[in-house]
Amino acid sequence: MKRDSAVDLVGLLSVEGEELAASWVREVATSLGGRIGVAELDRELRELHGALREALREGAVDVHSEQMSEVRALLTELSRNRARQGFSPSETAMSVFALKRVLEPVLQNGSAETIRAYLQLGRILDGLGLFAIETYTQTRDELITTQAEQLLELSTPVVRLWDGVIAVPLVGTLDSARTQVVMEKLLQALVDTGSEQAIIDITGVPAVDTQVAQHLLKTIVAARLMGAECTVSGISPQIAQTIVALGIEFDGIVTKASLADALKLALRRSGVDMVAHEGVQR
């Protein structure tokens, strides 16, 4: 009985042979609206078609069957590519489900066996579709994690303002992890650039909590241990209120209203004098 159904399933996929795969490719190409090369799609789906037929011939009953390993591998690759290329989960699953639609014509005038085989294949394809979506989601999650890490790196630039003066302009919400990254980057930059003055500008930071404020304080003390001085600039009125309300000791920390003021102080400390020339054309 099982053997027979396998034959039926394979038979179903072999109807019109190459023609079936070609219709499948056409159907999927339409659903993806030409955003993927037909040649690439053709290769992907024909491989999948062949592997699926082979798996069914060997008696695979669902997506988790051992005989399906080749199909799963191909489907994983397909889903990963779709996720990376920015297709939606539905569009990804369509690549599988389209095969059902392509097979629909066999239902007309089909024998009872054919219809049974179609339904059975339908269940298998449903399983494959879900598998594709799962892989898609996994890939997206991985992408998001990587991007979050990259963002963390990108969002904490250490810039050189002058010979011996560096600054970190912080933008956005600071959490404990990010503040720690900033701290380590800033201190390393002091060594790399031989800077004795560092400015931490928090103009773009909407709020700080106790932990973040503590991290900033620790950074400043650590910089002092290394032989550099830190100035904090751009403290917003809200943050100033938080600092006072939380009772955080900001004693001995030099603060300036703006980055410009902080730079002036840093330059003066490094022995640079700034002179405005009168009569200069602007």
């Binding site: 701290m183 380590e184 201190l187 390393q188 002091l190 060594v191 031989g194 800077s195 004795e196 620790k218 003390v221 650590a222 910089a223 002092r224 241990l225 290394m226 032989g227 550099a228």
Partner: protein
């Protein structure tokens, strides 16, 4: 028996470069030797280069603070130079901020710091 760290002299400045992980007794010896040398060479400045040290625990931290305090009593100034970022972060977390110790990024900046008049003299 235990190792002693060589103390170099450049003019009125004593220079010590710590190149390896120190045993506690070596740390104490260094503290003693420095106190003696400041008086013997009538030094006005002491530079302790710790750029090669991968860790500074509370024992070494306390030695640095003590040397700074001793040198102040003997009318000399101590500058600790070259502390690594990871070491600085760890010391702060440990709870040691080395309040009375002057610091500089490297040997050159440390020497420059000693050659400048003290900030208290400017006040």
């Amino acid at each position: 028996m235990t190792e002693r760290i060589p103390i170099l002299r450049i003019g009125k400045t004593l220079v010590v470069s710590v190149q390896f992980d120190l045993e506690d007794q070596t740390v104490l010896n260094l503290q003693e030797d420095l106190a003696e040398q400041i008086v013997a060479k009538s030094a006005q400045g002491v530079i302790i280069d710790i750029s090669a040290l991968e860790i500074v625990d509370s024992f070494v931290g306390r030695m640095l603070a003590t040397v700074a305090a001793i040198s102040r009593v003997l009318d000399a100034r101590t500058v600790v130079v070259g502390m690594r970022p990871a070491v600085a972060i760890t010391l702060v977390e440990l709870g040691l901020s080395l309040g009375g110790v002057s610091t500089a990024l490297d040997l050159e900046k440390g020497l420059a710091k000693l050659s400048r008049p003290t900030s208290s003299a400017l006040r």
